[in-house]
């Protein structure tokens, strides 16, 4: 008895070997997972402050005198008191409103917001976060979701004059 010759060419379902691809895909996934570092969004306050720069009387008549903001620290490093040009300020919102008034007055008199300078005179023991809050308050305000820039020229008082 002779068996019929087996059909060599018959339609077969081609099974692709997926193993190497899945291996590579998992390797890639592990690489991306391990190299992932979640970065919190950070921003800068740009300050241009050469060494010779110290707030003194304005060098020309058009230049406005700098606003002096003094921040006093309590023993724990928190904010004890704040003054602006010698006048007491109740808080950062109050400071923002006063600075906004000065900037608007400067704009009304034909100046530019860039002409207004501010000098921060802080106690050495004050927490830096308070300084950043003060800089935030004077550098701009948010109205209707838009940022309105106020003072750009911010400097720290030189140590020799960092006294009340």
């Amino acid at each position: 008895m002779t068996l019929p010759a087996p059909k060599r060419r018959r339609l077969e379902k081609m099974a692709i070997n997926m193993t190497p691809m899945i291996d590579v895909v998992f390797q890639l996934m592990i690489f991306f997972m391990l190299t992932l570092n979640i970065i919190a969004p950070e921003g800068d306050f740009d300050i241009r402050m050469p060494l010779s720069k110290s707030a003194g009387p304005p060098t020309d008549d058009l230049q406005l005198p700098p606003i002096r903001v003094r921040l006093t620290a309590n023993p724990a490093g928190g904010l004890l008191a704040m003054t602006m040009n010698g006048e007491p300020v109740s808080g950062f919102d109050d400071l923002q409103q006063r600075v906004a008034g000065i900037v608007e007055a400067a704009l009304a008199s034909g100046g530019a917001a860039e002409d207004v300078e501010l000098e921060l005179d802080c106690d050495e023991d004050l927490d830096y976060s308070q300084v950043v809050q003060a800089i935030t308050a004077v550098s701009g305000r948010i109205e209707d979701g838009r940022v309105i820039e106020m003072i750009k020229k911010i400097s720290f008082a030189p140590p020799a004059t960092a006294t009340e």
């Binding site: 099974a15 997926m18 691809m21 899945i22 895909v25 998992f26 890639l28 996934m29 991306f32 997972m33 190299t35 992932l36 570092n37 979640i38 970065i39 919190a40 969004p41 950070e42 921003g43 800068d44 306050f45 740009d46 300050i47 241009r48 402050m49 050469p50 060494l51 921040l71 620290a73 490093g77 802080c122 106690d123 050495e124 023991d125 004050l126 927490d127 830096y128 976060s129 308070q130 300084v131 950043v132 809050q133 800089i135 935030t136 550098s139 701009g140 948010i142 940022v147 720290f156 140590p159």
Partner: protein, 145 residues
């Protein structure tokens, strides 16, 4: 001769959904991956501000000074007392000059902890000024309200 009617049972399960999900995951990780060298350190807790602008473009000559809460400066992988950073900054300035660049165009990025003393931050800035650096960027966490 008995014909083999059935071999060892091979079960084929459908891999398509798993591969779909895996590719989605890879795409997600590729998008969120940040290759830029962010100088972040968990020892520094930046103060938050709603007005801190994200840097516009790349800072041309950045020098990052990280100030910890207890007054140490984290610079080039080690913690130095504030009054000892002058020498490192001097070297930094020499490197910038040797590269044919102007040190006054360098930006010192100050990443100071919110609990650090303002006096220490000011001292860091003063030492940088003495080395001829003029541009400073006080870094804060951007936190919209």
């Amino acid at each position: 001769m008995a014909a083999r009617t059935s071999g060892p049972a091979t079960t084929e399960f459908d891999m398509t959904p798993m591969i779909d999900v895996t590719f989605q995951l890879i795409t997600f990780f590729m998008f969120v991956l940040n290759f830029s060298e962010a100088e972040q350190d968990e020892r520094i807790q930046l103060p938050a501000s709603q007005l801190a602008k994200p840097a516009e473009g790349v800072v041309e000559i950045p020098i990052t000074m990280q100030l910890t809460a207890d007054g140490g400066v984290l610079y080039a992988g080690e913690i130095l007392p504030v009054n000892q950073i002058g020498r490192s900054l001097e070297q930094e300035r020499e490197v910038i000059i040797a590269a044919g660049k102007d040190p006054t165009l360098a930006t010192v990025i100050v990443r100071a902890d919110g609990r650090a003393r303002t006096g220490d931050v000011q001292q860091v800035i003063r030492i940088c000024q003495e080395q001829g650096f003029e541009r400073f960027a006080l870094r804060a966490l951007y936190k919209p309200e």
